[in-house]
Symmetry: C2
């Protein structure tokens, strides 16, 4: 199993996307996001996805030379047409636009809030890569994605798939530590995690998938063979999935743009964390509240209470030093995909 | 078990709060919200709460004559000091302010977005009463509440309670039907539902509470005797609880205002549903997507797939005709509480 340092992995990933036709800056953004996902420990959203993205380029579902474009704009909002650009580059474009609006200082624009929505967005992967980008710049960010492509998740009480895994993320800045981040698939498990389990030849936990006949299963292959995911937390996770779907679909008009073959809409809300109070006061109150939560004695089977985003931050620290291990079959699949675009890694 | 029509129950509820010292308009708002909760079928947030609120008035935790006040404001935001007014009145005040900002038409104010936060908020009860108020006026609304009072819920992996049940709600307008509403406690069960189970002498489902020693229990009394709630959906519900806590606490400065004895902060985001597209286009796309979801065949044990907010809308239709049944012991407790403020019902 090869282990690569962050810089190395970013560089070879960018190289692959350049060979696949992306301009230097977009290839670099995709690499940055995919490697950030590895740094956070979410290997399911890292280079494992490269073969799938290269196939989407061949199939015309991702346009590697395309750039997102603002088609409606006010000082506090923007509607972005993604033009099926590489999803990670679209995510960065939309997040940076929302951050800039939330942080605008010019008198007529200093509203400290923004909503940015995207139509024609390809697969962006892990949302925290974008919401934590905001949090590191002292901006609170909420992001939701629904989809109109291959459905994966059954609605609560339903026996067929309609929504997708519809992820939502929410990050808050943490001046004294890593961002506080919720980043969840509204399915009981991310499709990417099913793929990782299959790659590792592991079983899934119970109650996260059904097979294509609607029967419970722990075998990742049953999902791949036409099964579907269950929502997390029963009707609650299902309700959150529907909200994500509607925010990033009907509310913004995602279905009305042409060539909706794969992913589609993104909904982003951004707010300057200093809207209501000065940063030192926020930092102090935040540290105190997080300390209270972390001060809870561990339950049986746990060694400590962590706050959301903390496991990822720890993996990041470790991988900064030790590098990122890549499973052999992922490495082989990425090598082959790279060769298909004339890139030797 | 008495059954009362909506108007009757609203009228006697308002009467009780007037006797407890509230001005006519505030008493009416509290009654409107409590009865709306019954209409939606959430009896746990209805008149069952009156004895507790009257006790809070006696204890000085709720000030029945107080009115919320805006202490910071921009065209797209406001910070409201609740002054420990009746929570339902504070919820209406804050929601209406956010709705007005999101719908403002004057050129310098027509941003179609708003964030309104509240400090010193007493118990508001069911958040959908406010977010659906927005949705009925074609405004999308998100609302989150955290607390600094008696903690009820254990963090994921923890063996003591720190956060409260930290509810979040999200409503979208539905031009052709009832609002689409997510309204969930981030605990596996609302404390109010535990009280309802006890009132009905029923057991709880498994995995929703622990007793005070941290052992699983299905007896509602074990929660009341110092036990605590579990987050819904494991680490995912826990993460959502922490986000609600931080949005409505450290981010807005809830802890820095005096006399924080009971509830405290509210965070509201509101957006005009017509920000990005015309209403008929939204209505059509929404109807189509909801139709796809509802078209999924039911799983075993279900008769149909419902969308979030639909069960409540059906109860509302039924109770408009048939009235609201009140369990005998709730009715007796409310009568006694009413008598304590000199009100015969």
């Amino acid at each position: 199993m090869p282990t690569l340092m962050k810089q190395e992995l970013e560089s070879l990933t960018a190289d692959i996307f350049r060979h696949a036709g992306a301009p230097v800056d977009l290839a670099q953004q995709v690499a940055e996001v995919l490697v950030d996902n590895h740094m956070a420990g979410h290997d399911s959203h890292g280079i494992l996805r490269i073969p799938e993205y290269l196939k989407s380029i061949v199939d015309g579902e991702i346009v590697p030379t395309a750039r997102p474009e603002v088609i409606q704009e006010t000082p506090v909002s923007a509607l972005v047409q993604g033009h099926w650009a590489l999803g990670q580059a679209t995510g960065i474009y939309a997040a940076d636009l929302a951050i800039a609006k939330a942080k605008a200082k010019a008198k007529a624009k200093a509203h400290h809030l923004a909503v940015v929505s995207v139509v024609q967005a390809a697969h962006t992967g892990r949302l925290a890569a974008f919401t934590e980008r905001a949090a590191r710049q002292e901006v609170v960010m909420f992001m939701a994605i629904g989809t109109v492509d291959r459905p994966m998740t059954a609605p609560f009480g339903g026996a067929a798939a309609v929504p997708d895994t519809n992820p939502v993320a929410f990050s808050l800045p943490n001046p004294d530590g890593p961002p506080i981040t919720l980043d969840i698939a509204t399915s009981a498990i991310a499709a990417g995690k099913v793929k990782v389990a299959k790659a590792r030849h592991e079983n899934l936990p119970p109650d996260v998938i059904l097979d294509k006949a609607g029967r419970p299963s722990v075998n990742p292959q049953d999902f791949i063979d036409g099964g579907f995911l269950l929502p997390f937390g029963g009707h609650k996770g299902y309700a959150l999935a529907v909200i994500a779907e509607l925010l990033s679909g009907p509310l913004i008009g995602a279905e009305s743009f042409p060539a909706v073959t794969q992913r589609s809409g993104i909904f982003i809300f951004a707010m300057d964390a200093a809207l209501f109070r000065a940063k030192p006061d926020y930092a102090q109150a935040l540290a105190q509240r997080l300390g209270q939560i972390k001060g809870v004695p561990p339950a049986q089977g746990f060694t400590e209470v962590l706050v959301p985003g903390e496991p990822e931050a720890r993996t990041r620290t470790r991988r900064e030093k030790e590098g990122i291990p890549i499973p052999d079959d992922t490495w082989q699949a990425v090598r082959q995909a790279a060769q298909s675009v004339g890139c030797e890694i």
